[in-house]
Symmetry: C2
Subunit: 145 residues, 2 copies
DNA sequence: CCAATACTTAAACCTGACTTTATCTTAAAA
DNA sequence: TTTTAAGATAAAGTCAGGTTTAAGTATTGG
């Protein structure tokens, strides 16, 4: 059993954040003793899951829904799995997008490297896809899909 | 030469967003005719660059700095290249983080798939790393670094 | 010539995830 | 017992990146 201050240190989270999470319903059914929050094993577990879900970019209101399902036991395993699968899809989609963005920026870096070396953009302006180095052409094409 | 409304359609951006970008200084030196914004080739070019930089997650105030450098000609090629290189590092770091998050969530998906199949978490609770399928163990270990 | 449409501004509002502030209560240490 | 630290609350503030609103001005088509 821990106080909010102890949990704050354990998880390197401000006390205000923990209170905010509680206010948002991320610790359903948390015990209180004369008004003071009691963090037990269940809440520590919950917090680990919250940290995980936050990293995936999940919103507080969805995390809240997930934590409430956790309260309800085995009947909600499928719901939890489905939500995680959906979040996995979202993260995979974001990864794919990032990969494309990376190619776009790789091209731009190369472009300004050339411009800096040439002192102007004349050569770059008259350049076609075929004039670019293989790798840059690939980045350009992928980045501009 | 285009009006704000024409650009809004071309780029699928609300007029309010274009005005906001202008207010934030993303179109330095844009022309006006009796108070009305005139979008020329330079602004269209700028907007393409803005869209690109936004995709990388660059903040408006940094994009503003970049666009001002673009105004200043060849003397700022190095600055622009350096800013893009820095942004490339940031995107690469984010990709690496996402990849780890993906492994974490892959493990969680597998966990609830098992829980749903078993109807409880008993087997999972008594499971060690060696009991997990190769691929899941990899995801677990990478996801919990 | 006049209505309709598109443009202008400043300022308020919105969302998400917190943080800060002000005031009050409880618990632990001296 | 009395500080003092740590707990509590509600409400307001913050930040980014816009969006909405209100009220006025300019341009275009019939």
């Amino acid at each position: 059993m821990y106080t909010i201050g102890q949990i704050s240190k354990q998880f390197h989270l401000p006390v205000s954040t923990l209170r905010y999470y509680d206010k948002e319903g991320l610790f359903p059914g948390m015990e209180r003793r004369s008004g003071i929050r009691v963090f037990g094993e269940k809440e520590v577990e919950a917090l680990r899951m919250i940290e995980c879900l936050k990293k995936t970019g999940m919103e507080i209101r969805d995390i809240k829904e997930f934590m409430h399902w956790c309260q309800q036991g085995p009947a909600t395993y499928e719901k939890r799995r489905d939500m995680l699968l959906e979040q996995k899809q979202a993260v995979e989609a974001e990864m794919a997008r990032m990969s494309q963005v990376l190619d776009m920026i790789r091209y731009k870096c190369w472009y300004y490297e050339q411009a800096a070396a040439d002192g102007n953009e004349d050569r770059l302006r008259s350049m076609t896809l075929m004039d670019m180095p293989e790798e840059i052409r690939r980045a350009f094409e992928n980045g501009h899909k």
